[in-house]
C-alpha cells in the first residue's frame, strides 16, 4: 500500500499541471493514468496555444484567460511552444459585420490584432487562398501537448512525486463517507495497487463522471467529439483561422513537419467508443481547402478524434457551451476539475491546487507562472545532425529515428508499450504512420528481451488495427496506395490474416 497526500487521476495536461504545481508547493502526491500521458483530449487536440481570439466574441472570459495564459506559457514552456502567430482570414461571403464585432471583442479582451490586406497576408503565408478579402493577425501559437505533459510530470517526479502511467483506477476507497484513496490496476500485469491519500483530484477529462461516481458523487458533463486530419506537409507557418462564427473546419495549425486541420463538433455519449466518419474528413478537408487551396492536393496521412469534456449547459449546440472550467468540491475528499482547454491547463491546475492546499491547511502559493518548466534543455535534443550520423541504423525512415534511440527509450522506460516509444522518439509519426517501422521497433524490443515473441506479435496486431482506425477515414490517393502495400506486407508476406 502507498500513502500520500494527494492522488491525481488523469495524465493529461491538467493532471500533469496539477502534479507540477503540487510538487513546487511541496505537497506529496501520486498521479495515475490509464494510458500514456496525453491519452485523452490533450493528445487528440490540434495543438493550438490559443490567443483567445476564437472565443472573444462568444466567451469573453475564456478569451481573457487564454491571452493571459498564452503569455505565461510562451515564457515558461519555450521548448513546447512554437511562436507562429496566427491569422483570421475572411473569405468572400464571410460577414464583414462579424469582422467588426470580432475586432472590437479582441480589443476588449486585450488580444492584440492587426488588420492586413490580402496581399500582405499572402506575403506571410503564400499558400493562402488568393481570393481572401483580408486577414487579421492574432498571437496564436502551436504547442506540443505531449511534451508539455512530460515536462510537467518531470518536475513532479524530480521532487518525489509518484507517476504511474498505464495504471487504471478501478475503485475509489471510501471510509466514513469520505474518499480515502484509490485502487489502481497495473495494465500490463493486472496487479492491483492501493494508494491512500487525503485528497483525490479527478482530472480525468471525458471520463470525469465515471471517476466521480466511484467516489459517490457525479459531475454534469456534455461530451463533444472533435475530428481532425493531418496533412503530410507543413503548408503554412502560421495558424490559419476562418474569420466567421465558430463552425466546422475553421482552423489549420502547423506542427513540426505537418499541418493539423479541424475540427468538427458532434455530441457523443461514450468517450471510449468514438470514430471519425469519412464525411467528417470531407467536411474538414473541404473547409481547409477554402483557406489553403493546396490542402486539397496534399496527402492526408491520418484522421483522429478527441472528446471535449464540456460543462453541461442547457443548450444542445456544443459550440455555444462555454470552454471555461469549473472546480467542483464534492465535499467528500474529492475534487473534480472539469471543462477548460489545453491553453488554460496551468490556470486550472493553479486554482485546483489552491483549493486543495486550503483544505490540507498548507500555506504555499502557486509559482508555476514564474518558474520555467524543468528539463526543457535536455528535451531540445534530437537534432537532425545527430539523427543523420547513424543513417545505417535508421529504423524509421520518415522521422529518421535510429535503433540506438529506440533502445535507449526501451531500456530507460522498461516499457511494454509501443506507443511510449512512438511518443518519445516520433517513430511512426510520418507518412507511413508506423506501417514499416513499428514491426522493427517491436523486433528491437524482442531482442532486448523486454517482450516474448508472442507478446510482440500480439502488440503488432493491436497496433495495426489501431493504426488502421486512424487511416481508414482518409484513404484515397497516395495514402490508399501505401495502405494497400502495407496490407500486402502484413496479410500477404507475413501471413497475418484472420486465420491466426
Amino acid at each position: 500500500m502507498i500513502r500520500t497526500d494527494v492522488v491525481i487521476i488523469g495524465g493529461g495536461a491538467t493532471g500533469c499541471g496539477i502534479a507540477r504545481d503540487l510538487a513546487l508547493r511541496g505537497v506529496h502526491h501520486y498521479l495515475v493514468e490509464k494510458g500514456d500521458f496525453a491519452n485523452g483530449a490533450t493528445g487528440a487536440c490540434h495543438g493550438l496555444l490559443h490567443s483567445g481570439a476564437r472565443y472573444a466574441v462568444n466567451d469573453p472570459e475564456a478569451a481573457r484567460e487564454c491571452i493571459s495564459e498564452n503569455a505565461i506559457l510562451r515564457k515558461i514552456a519555450r521548448k513546447c511552444v512554437e511562436v507562429t502567430g496566427g491569422l483570421f482570414v475572411r473569405l468572400p461571403g464571410d460577414s464583414k459585420k462579424y469582422r467588426d464585432t470580432f475586432l472590437k471583442s479582441c480589443e476588449e479582451a486585450g488580444i492584440s490584432t492587426d488588420v492586413l490586406s490580402a496581399s500582405r497576408a499572402l506575403d506571410l503565408v503564400p499558400d493562402l487562398n488568393p481570393a481572401i478579402e483580408e486577414a487579421v493577425t492574432v498571437p496564436d501559437c502551436s504547442i506540443d501537448p505531449f511534451r508539455l505533459c512530460m515536462l510537467n510530470a518531470f518536475t513532479s517526479r524530480h521532487k518525489g512525486g509518484g507517476i504511474l502511467i498505464h495504471h487504471k483506477v478501478v475503485d475509489v476507497i471510501r471510509e466514513k463517507g469520505r474518499c480515502a484513496g484509490v485502487k489502481v490496476e497495473d495494465c500490463s500485469t493486472s496487479h492491483i495497487k492501493e494508494i491512500r491519500a487525503k485528497i483525490i483530484i479527478n482530472a480525468s477529462g471525458a471520463w470525469g463522471d465515471t471517476v466521480a461516481r466511484m467516489g459517490g458523487s457525479g459531475v454534469p458533463m456534455t461530451l463533444s467529439k472533435g475530428s481532425l486530419i493531418i496533412s503530410n506537409h507543413r503548408l503554412t507557418n502560421m495558424v490559419i483561422n476562418r474569420l466567421r462564427p465558430p463552425s466546422d473546419g475553421d482552423i489549420i495549425v502547423p506542427n513540426e513537419a505537418v499541418c493539423l486541420a479541424g475540427t468538427t463538433s458532434i455530441p457523443v455519449d461514450d468517450p471510449d467508443a468514438i470514430e471519425v466518419a469519412p464525411h467528417e474528413v470531407d467536411i474538414v478537408a473541404t473547409q481547409a481547402e477554402q483557406m489553403i487551396p493546396r490542402f486539397g492536393a496534399t496527402r492526408i496521412i491520418r484522421a483522429y478524434t478527441g472528446v471535449r469534456p464540456l460543462l453541461k449547459a442547457a443548450s444542445s449546440d456544443s459550440r455555444s457551451i462555454s470552454r471555461g472550467y469549473r472546480i467542483i468540491d464534492h465535499k467528500n475528499g474529492m475534487y473534480s476539475v472539469m471543462g477548460g482547454k489545453l491553453s488554460t491547463y496551468r490556470l486550472m491546475a493553479e486554482k485546483t491546487v489552491d483549493a486543495v492546499v486550503r483544505e490540507l491547511g498548507i500555506k504555499a502559493h502557486c509559482r508555476t507562472a514564474e518558474i520555467p518548466l524543468e528539463g526543457q534543455e535536455e528535451l531540445s535534443g534530437y537534432p537532425l545532425s545527430k539523427r543523420l550520423k547513424n543513417i545505417e541504423g535508421v529504423v524509421c525512415e520518415c522521422e529518421l529515428v535510429d535503433r540506438d534511440h529506440v533502445e535507449r527509450v526501451v531500456n530507460s522506460l522498461g516499457t511494454q508499450y509501443i506507443g511510449d516509444i512512438q511518443h518519445r522518439t516520433r517513430l511512426g509519426m510520418g507518412p507511413c504512420q508506423g506501417g514499416f517501422c513499428t514491426y522493427r521497433a517491436l523486433g528491437i524490443m524482442l531482442e532486448t528481451g523486454r517482450m516474448s515473441p508472442e507478446e510482440s506479435i500480439r502488440t503488432l496486431r493491436q497496433f495495426l488495427q489501431r493504426r488502421f482506425r486512424g487511416i481508414r477515414p482518409a484513404l484515397w490517393g497516395d495514402q490508399l496506395r501505401e495502405e494497400q502495400l502495407v496490407e500486402s506486407i502484413y496479410l500477404g508476406i507475413l501471413g497475418m490474416g484472420r486465420a491466426e
Binding site: 545505417e392 523486433g443 531482442e447 516474448s452 490517393g477 490508399l480 496479410l491 500477404g492 507475413l494 497475418m496
Partner: protein, 394 residues
C-alpha cells in the same frame, strides 16, 4: 517526333505485362513493352500465388477474372512461366493443382503455388531440426519470431558488415564473402537438419550460392522471403525482363504514356513523354497491364477512381465509406474489387477501343489479397490477353 511501329504494344512492366510480351515475342510478333519504372513485382516474395487462400487452387472462384482464363489456360500459363524461368537459370518448383507451404519472417505459414527453388525446402511442417541464420543489423528480420514457433530450432547471427537485404545480397555475389560465410557456418557445427536464411543469397545466381552452402555443410538450405525491397521479387522481375530482351522484345523503360490517338474505334499510337524528343509508338494491338492502386494503374480521389492511361470506365464498389472494412485483418476490403471490367476476350467493356486488351491486377474483381492470387492472376491473364491479341493479329 520519333516514330516506331510494332505489332503489339504492352503498357505496364509487371508480371502480367512481361508475360504477355514474352508470349507474343515467342510467337514471332514485334513487341514493345512500356514501363514507367521497376514494377511492384520487385516488392513481392517472388512466389507465384495461384489461390493461396484455397486448398484446391484450380477450383476457380465464380465471378473472378480467373473464370475468363479457365483452368486449362491457367495451367498452360504456369508451365510457360516455369519453362522461361528454368531457362533463365532461376527454376521454380510446384504444381498448379496443389499449394505449397513456406515459412514467413515471423514464423507463420504462407500458402503459395510455385516457389523459386531456393524455397523448395521451406515447408515449416517438415520434420527435423531447423537452424535460422540472420545477419547483424538487418532491419526486417528477427529470427526469434521463427524459433518461438518452430520446435527444435535455433538461430545464430552473421556479421556481413552491411544491414540491408540488397547490400547483403550484393555481397553474396562475391566468392570471398561466400567462402567466409561458409567457413563461419562450418565452425558453428550446426546439429540441425535444415538451414534457413533470409532471402539474400545473391542477386543473379542464388541457386549456385545455395548449392555451395548446402554441399559445404551437408545440410539442406532454403530462403525465407523478406519484406520489401525483396530480393526474390527483384530476381523474378530481372529474369523475366532478360528473357524478354533475349526474345527480341523491345523495352521502353522509365517512360510514361502521355497521350494516345484513337481513330475509328482503334488505338493507333501512344506518345511517350521524355525530356528530349517525344516518341510515338504505333501498334496494331495494345495491352493495358498497369496494375491496380499500388502500381498506379488506378488512382482514387475522394469520390471516384480513375484509370490513369486511357481514362477507361472503372468499376468502383460503392462510396468511399464502404471501400474498407473496419477490421484490418479481415480479408477482402471492397476496394480490392475496383478495376476494369473486361469481356471474355479481355477487352474493356463500355470502351470504343476495339484493339485494347487488359490483364493483371487492374482487372475488376481480382481481389488479389483476399484470394492470394497475385502473380498467378498476372501470369495467367497476361497469357490469356496475349492469346486474344494473337487472334486479332493473325
Amino acid at each position: 517526333m520519333s516514330v516506331y511501329e510494332y505489332d503489339a504494344v504492352i503498357i505496364g512492366g509487371g508480371a502480367s505485362g512481361l508475360t504477355a510480351s514474352l508470349y507474343l515475342s515467342s510467337h514471332g510478333y514485334k513487341t514493345a513493352l512500356i514501363s514507367k519504372g521497376d514494377p511492384v513485382c520487385c516488392l513481392s516474395t517472388g512466389c507465384i500465388d495461384v489461390l493461396g487462400g484455397s486448398d484446391t487452387p484450380l477450383d476457380l472462384p465464380e465471378g473472378h477474372p480467373y473464370t475468363l482464363v479457365g483452368r486449362e489456360t491457367l495451367t498452360e500459363a504456369l508451365s510457360f512461366f516455369m519453362e522461361i524461368m528454368a531457362h533463365a537459370g532461376l527454376p521454380y518448383v510446384g504444381e498448379p493443382g496443389r499449394n505449397r507451404r513456406i515459412i514467413t519472417p515471423i514464423g507463420t505459414t504462407k500458402n503459395t503455388g510455385l516457389v523459386p527453388c531456393t524455397m523448395a525446402e521451406a515447408d515449416p511442417a517438415e520434420a527435423g531440426h531447423l537452424h535460422v541464420v540472420s545477419f547483424k543489423g538487418i532491419k526486417d528480420f528477427y529470427p526469434s519470431y521463427i524459433t518461438s514457433r518452430i520446435r527444435n530450432s535455433a538461430f545464430s547471427v552473421f556479421d556481413a558488415k552491411v544491414g540491408t537485404t540488397l547490400g547483403i545480397a550484393t555481397r553474396f555475389e562475391d566468392n570471398a564473402f561466400l567462402d567466409a560465410f561458409i567457413s563461419w557456418l562450418h565452425d558453428l557445427e550446426i546439429p540441425h537438419d535444415r538451414i534457413a536464411v533470409p532471402a539474400v543469397l545473391g542477386l543473379e545466381d542464388p541457386v549456385s550460392v545455395m548449392e555451395k552452402i548446402s554441399s559445404a555443410t551437408g545440410r539442406q538450405v532454403f530462403e525465407i522471403p523478406t519484406l520489401p525491397p525483396s530480393i526474390p521479387g527483384m530476381r523474378l522481375f530481372r529474369a523475366l525482363k532478360r528473357s524478354l530482351q533475349a526474345k527480341g522484345g523491345h523495352l521502353y523503360w522509365g517512360r510514361e504514356v502521355s497521350s494516345f490517338e484513337c481513330q475509328a474505334g482503334r488505338i493507333e499510337a501512344v506518345t511517350l513523354s521524355t525530356t528530349g524528343r517525344p516518341s510515338r509508338v504505333e501498334g496494331k494491338v495494345f495491352i493495358l497491364s498497369t496494375g491496380s492502386f499500388v502500381s498506379g494503374g488506378l488512382l482514387a480521389s475522394r469520390d471516384r477512381v480513375k484509370e490513369t492511361v486511357f481514362g477507361l470506365p472503372v468499376f468502383v464498389p460503392g462510396e468511399r465509406k464502404d471501400w474498407f472494412n473496419a477490421d484490418f485483418f479481415a480479408a477482402g476490403h471492397a476496394i480490392e474489387k475496383a478495376g476494369i471490367e473486361v469481356d471474355d476476350t479481355f477487352r474493356p467493356k463500355f470502351s470504343k477501343m476495339n484493339n485494347l486488351f487488359a490483364c493483371g491486377s487492374i482487372l475488376a474483381r481480382s481481389e488479389v489479397l483476399k484470394y492470394q492470387c497475385g502473380h498467378g492472376l498476372a501470369i495467367s491473364t497476361g497469357m490469356a490477353a496475349a492469346k486474344m491479341c494473337e487472334g486479332m493479329l493473325s
